[in-house]
């Protein structure tokens, strides 16, 4: 089959590789009909994530048709249309039973690698480095899905792929970010980062009762999308714009009730802190650039909540923890507990409360993907979301 492989920092290539096979009793093989490039794939592309090896197949947002199942899979059969969550959960360990599926004990074959870095290992992920499982990803024509009896969501309606594909990662991720923000009615929520996850965080914040959402970014296409779903926007790259001042002004001095950091470790900042972080990461004295986290902590109101869906990997520097303590804020974060959200969010899509396909800007073939990685990384062509049909030529 054809698959998109990571071949080094700044280098992805389409190769002919062997088809996946059933390896464990709870596996299924899925023929992929649609897949996407995620913002976090750009961290892999830029070489930020350790334990990647030449030849690793990327991609963790995918859906398709069940081709084959292992003997432990009784809820799915050949021909079923499924969306597959990007995290892999066994369903039976203490963490899965507590519904913290992203912390599953039993799905990372390389758990000892994550333990060395973090103390404990979370669940395996598709296509996201060997430390996180080393599972072959879904920017390909077929994929092997472990614990297919637990993860995949059957799509029984005739909704087109594009409308349900984002149940595989970014819609639940944005929704959990909004849930973690502990939003009450009449709240003002500030969202940094209007990429796809930020978009769904904004939409979900409204669904969960926010009175107003303030969206912060610098790319015109993203700000436009945010306005189209009802957010007020702040362009932080405009001269004389200070995000902290803008947020104070917009909230009568109290600050937003909740702040969502949908940017994570590769944050950009035009100010002095941005230069500080760039130098430190270049010198390997810091691994993550927390400009957004700093702003979120500084601007949130006293007693407010900072919700962090943005990916962080290593160590931060110069975080205003005194402000966090002094204001008594709550921080909620973590990898998405996909299995809690896929079904309820599918229902919202079926009831026409939201059409997730509104963020798609590019529809491409697998062969066009390597170029598009570069285009998106360089923020050209007004890319908002790239969807791939791995069978198109």
């Amino acid at each position: 089959m054809k698959a998109l492989c990571w071949m080094g920092s700044g280098k992805v290539e389409v190769h002919n590789v062997s088809d996946p096979t059933i390896l464990n009793p709870h596996d299924a093989i899925v023929k992929i009909t649609r897949t996407a490039i995620c913002g976090s794939d750009l961290h892999l592309y830029d070489g930020f994530i350790p334990t990647m090896e030449e030849g690793d197949i990327l991609g963790h947002e995918f859906m398709g048709i069940v081709e084959d199942t292992g003997k432990g899979v009784t809820n799915l059969q050949r021909g079923d249309r499924v969306v597959v969550p990007f995290t892999i959960a066994c369903g039976n360990c203490e963490f899965c039973k507590k519904k913290i599926w992203s912390a599953c004990d039993n799905t990372n074959p390389n758990a000892h690698l994550m333990e060395a870095a973090y103390g404990y290992s979370g669940s395996g992920l598709f296509g996201y480095s060997h430390m996180m499982g080393g599972y072959a990803g879904g920017q390909a024509q077929y994929v092997r899905v472990p614990f297919a009896n637990v993860g995949p969501l059957k799509i029984e309606s005739d909704l087109p792929d594009e409308k349900v594909l984002f149940l595989s990662d970014i819609f639940p991720t944005g929704y959990m970010a909004a849930e973690n923000a502990q939003i009450q009615g009449n709240d003002t929520v500030a969202v940094w980062g209007c990429g796809p996850v930020g978009q769904f965080a904004i939409a979900s914040a409204f669904m969960l009762g926010a009175a107003r959402v303030i969206a912060i970014d610098r790319l015109p296409e993203r700000l436009e999308l945010a306005r189209s779903i009802g957010a007020i926007t702040v362009d932080y790259s405009e001269e004389d714009v200070s995000v902290l001042t803008a947020l104070k002004d917009l909230t009568g001095g109290i600050g937003p009730d909740s702040c969502i950091d949908a940017v994570g470790l590769e944050a950009h900042s035009a100010q002095l802190q941005g230069i500080y972080d760039k130098v430190k990461t270049a010198l390997m004295l810091e691994t993550d650039r927390p400009s957004v986290l700093r702003q979120a902590i500084q601007s949130v109101r006293k007693g407010g909540t900072v919700s962090i869906p943005g990916v962080y990997g290593g160590l931060l520097d110069k975080v205003p923890f005194g402000a966090a303590f002094g204001k008594g804020i709550t921080m909620k974060m973590g990898q998405t507990n996909m299995h809690n959200y896929m079904k309820p969010l599918l229902e919202r899509i079926e009831k026409r409360q939201i059409d997730p396909s509104y963020i798609i800007s590019h529809r491409i073939t697998l062969e066009e993907a390597p170029d598009m990685y570069k285009v998106w990384r360089d923020k050209k062509q007004n890319v908002t979301k790239i969807v791939i049909d791995p069978w198109a030529t």
Binding site: A3, L23, E54, E94, P109, H130
Partner: protein
């Protein structure tokens, strides 16, 4: 009892055999053994106790190895030194007990590996040794 451990590399099969004597056997609580001849010197104990708060079972493995210097050096290089092997065996046991399978990626597709990735293969699951019998076809 005559257990047999098999380790197979791409190039050669290596079998180590030894006899063990059971020193203690309390069903569901503890089993202890000691090797009494053959090619491996080892002794160990597995203890099962209720976890605090009624949250399941705590499994503790104590294992002592005596290996030839060459074997020890080799195992450390390929990343399967005895301590790590015991830790991974425990992890595999937990996965098997809780889910009926051990997570694996051996046999999955990948693109061309390149020189460094090829050397590092033993660090990642692609070459991890699993107990015999678990590579049976699953479908």
């Amino acid at each position: 009892m005559r257990p047999v451990a098999n380790s197979s590399d791409k190039d050669k099969d290596k079998t180590v055999e030894w006899d063990s004597a059971i020193l203690q056997d309390e069903p569901g609580r503890r089993i202890a053994w000691k090797s009494i001849g053959g090619e491996s010197h080892n002794a160990g104990e597995v203890v099962f106790e209720p976890a605090p708060g009624g949250r399941g079972t705590m499994v503790t493995v104590l294992q002592e190895f005596r290996m030839g210097k060459l074997a020890s050096a080799w195992e450390t290089i390929v990343g399967r030194n005895p301590k790590q092997a015991v830790i991974e065996n425990l992890r595999h046991f937990k996965a098997l007990a809780e889910t009926g399978e051990i997570p694996r990626t051996q046999g999955q597709p990948h693109g061309p590996r390149g020189m460094i990735a090829g050397i590092k293969k033993s660090m990642y699951d692609e070459e991890t040794k699993v107990p015999p019998g678990l590579h049976r076809k699953a479908s």
